[in-house]
């Protein structure tokens, strides 16, 4: 049974890559939007750009994964093709995990390009690859799961994109992408520590040799713990849509 579920998860993710990776919402929100922000910040202040690299990589993880979840879930909810998957011999959580895996792989591809370009263009060769992977992989899964959780709440693609922008921008402004968390007022600081992007940025910063506010092991543990915390309610909400 578990083997059959794993196989279905793999094929659903593979199908989503083939079907949806070139959809306009995935390109505009998942690639163009983070790339435009990165370029804007580079042009504004090219000298201290290295300091912004961890935040911008984290932002890429956030936008690429959530944008893809909107496409792989809400396109199919709207067209009724998600039902086709649910009619196959695969559990509902298996279908959702396939969708999350599709978003994770898309995010990984975009993030890998941005990270590689940053490392090569800025000469950031001191990066600790193992730390970086330990942070990026759970982060990709966390934000894909967050995207899935938001997407199953609504049916239309535009509704999901709008809904996803709420936590996206909240995290971009509070979690240290542009402004260090230490400079935030105490209340906002407390909120920042509840948001997953804080741990992603903190971990990426330490991977690039910077100083972190939290031990990298804690960043990794928090991110891994958040994956089921997001997937379980997403599965329940999806089940409620159909049952």
């Amino acid at each position: 049974m578990w083997y059959e579920n794993l196989r279905s998860i793999y094929y659903i993710a593979l199908k989503d890559m083939k079907t949806y990776y070139l959809k306009p919402p995935a390109i505009s929100w998942g690639i163009v939007f983070p790339a435009a922000w990165i370029l804007a910040f580079y042009l504004r202040n090219p000298r201290n750009f290295e300091e912004l690299v961890p935040g911008l990589i984290a932002m890429t993880v956030l936008f690429s994964t959530t944008a893809m979840e909107v496409v792989v879930i809400n396109f199919e909810l709207r067209l009724g093709s998600l039902e086709r998957l649910l009619l196959a011999p695969v559990s509902l959580s298996g279908v959702l995990l396939g969708k999350i895996l599709g978003g994770t792989v898309f995010g990984l591809m975009i993030t890998a390009v941005i990270t590689l370009a940053s490392v090569l263009s800025l000469g950031l060769f001191s990066v600790n690859i193992i730390y970086l992977l330990l942070i990026l992989l759970p982060s990709l899964l966390v934000f894909s799961s967050l995207g899935a959780l938001l997407c199953v709440l609504v049916k239309e693609v535009f509704e999901a994109q709008t809904l996803a922008n709420l936590p996206r921008f909240l995290m971009v402004f509070l979690c240290g992408v542009f402004v260090p968390i230490s400079t935030l007022p105490p209340v906002l600081k407390q909120i920042a520590y509840v948001l997953p992007l804080t741990y992603t940025i903190d971990g990426i910063r330490q991977s690039f040799g910077g100083a972190g506010d939290i031990a990298i092991a804690i960043d990794v543990v928090v991110l891994i713990a958040l994956i089921p915390v997001l997937i379980l309610p997403a599965t329940r909400l999806l089940a409620r849509r159909f049952v």
Partner: protein, 320 residues
């Protein structure tokens, strides 16, 4: 006889609104079982419950021997579903769609392509195997959706309104496919609101109204339920103005009425009625042009058993 579907006291309610109300029925293995009823009767809800897309509020059902509440994944391996909407993937070609279905149902890797191509040939889509699903006509989309439900060689096929929205030729072609499926031993559970379609295809039919089953039987027996009295239609080569009155006098106790250029005679012994007709024709210097026995249609049975007009059903879905 082995049962493909066993349903006992099944009820499905949404927010207090009862869509399916305590229905019970069995579907025999190898038969085409029709679920006939107007929009909102509960046909699609029943399919959704039986295929695991929805949980029953009350009651139980077994599909191919598997309890739908506890063992639905195993049942899914052995049945295929054709939803009312042709919901394959627009961005994939016809063949890619079928290969994906093969992958999803765990078919051996080497069989994905050959099974897909075999089905495309069966459904006359092989020439368009590499075209995207989005470019298919409505009839082709329907055919591919049915093909997709057959990829894993199911023993039972659920067909939800298979011919809705199709032109006459495409609908006819699909009916031929359904007949072939039955011949190949597949049990078919078919929902439709087209009476003539149900009559043509189904071994047995359940009439569903407002979530309740009002009758289950073969089309012939359902029609017989509507047959109150046998009736004969007769016309003469030279129409005679007073034929109805005269025949009425010769056949006391029987209702004889004029219907356009024909005379309709209800009830009575066929031999006596025919003698009266022939005697009347001879005496009046004419000949009988045609005599036919009137049989009730499934439409008559539907109207009698449900109290609904079949025109309502046709109008609801833009019927042919």
């Amino acid at each position: 006889m082995a049962k493909a579907i066993e349903v006992a006291g099944l009820t499905k309610a949404y927010d207090g609104l009862v869509a399916v109300d305590s229905i019970s029925f069995d579907v025999n293995a190898g038969e085409v079982f029709g679920f006939l009823g107007p929009n909102g009767a509960g046909k699609t809800t029943t399919i959704r419950v039986l295929t695991g897309l929805s949980r029953p509020t009350v009651g139980s059902a077994r599909v191919l021997g598997h309890d739908i509440a506890s063992d639905i994944v195993k049942a899914k391996k052995a049945f295929g579903v054709v939803p009312e909407q042709s919901n394959m993937y627009d961005e994939l070609s016809g063949l890619e769609n079928l290969i994906f279905m093969g992958q999803l149902y765990g078919m051996p890797r080497l069989e994905h392509r050959t099974r897909g191509e075999e089905l495309l040939k069966t459904f006359g889509l092989f020439e368009r195997k590499d075209s995207k699903f989005a470019t298919y006509s409505r009839g082709m989309k329907r055919a591919l959706t049915i093909a997709a439900a057959l990829v894993h060689k199911p023993r039972l096929l659920f067909l939800d309104e298979p011919t809705v929205g199709l032109d006459v030729m495409a609908a006819r072609s699909l009916r031929t496919i359904i007949k072939r499926l039955k011949e190949s031993g597949i049990t078919v559970f078919l929902t439709t609101h087209y009476l003539e379609e149900a009559d043509m295809l189904c071994d047995r039919i359940a009439l569903l109204v407002k979530g309740k089953i009002v009758a289950i039987d073969t089309p012939a027996r359902l029609k017989a339920m509507a047959e109150e009295k046998p009736a004969l239609d007769v016309s003469f080569k030279i129409p005679l103005a007073k034929a109805a009155d005269e025949l009425g006098r010769r056949l006391p106790g029987l209702a004889v009425v004029r219907a356009d250029d024909r005379i309709r005679i209800y009830g009575g012994d066929a031999d006596v009625v025919l003698h009266a007709i022939l005697g009347y024709a001879t005496e009046n210097g004419t000949q009988v042009a045609a005599v036919s026995s009137l049989k009730p249609s499934l439409e008559d049975a539907f109207v009698k058993l449900t109290g609904l007009s079949p025109l309502v059903m046709a109008a609801e879905k833009g019927g042919r």
